[in-house]
Symmetry: C2
């Protein structure tokens, strides 16, 4: 119980915290609009997602993740991105 | 591109890496047996999951996550735990 958070614990908090660092109140729920999503990609995922650093590529990714087509990324939609990245880190063999 | 990984990037790697730190080859796929799962809970999640630090509580959690009932935690089943913790950190209002 004592001592510092593990890398895993810090990681779990970083995942949730990174969303709220950029999210804004959008009709009652926190979400990322296109500009906020691009900032998150550029500031927090520049090493991991090197191919979506341009605004054009970021817009395409937003479109892919935006399952309810409201032009916003909800925490649930952001979670899909987190899952995709972890899947890629895992070597793509997750679930096989 | 240059510079250090962000907290988010480190976090994503910590999530995947923490599984493989304890997983062993179980019939071709990496998985956590009960002892390995308990070690992960005790060593990496002692601050976040204070109520599953005993072997008994750890066994109950394993049973809950073990959807294919093979007494092992696969990466997919571990991912459910990751999602549950992030949901809890998020305050439980994810998806509402």
């Amino acid at each position: 119980m004592a001592g510092k958070d593990s890398e895993l614990e810090k990681g779990l908090h970083a995942i949730v915290g990174s969303f709220y660092k950029y999210a804004k109140d959008k009709g009652g729920a926190q979400a990322l609009d296109q500009a906020a999503f691009q900032k998150l990609l550029n500031n927090e995922l520049s090493h991991q997602l090197t191919d979506v650093q341009s605004t054009e590529a970021g817009k395409d990714l937003l479109k892919k993740l935006d399952t309810d087509k409201n032009q916003l990324i909800s925490f649930e939609e952001y979670w899909e991105l987190v899952a995709l990245i972890c899947y890629a880190i895992d070597g793509g063999d997750w679930g096989n």
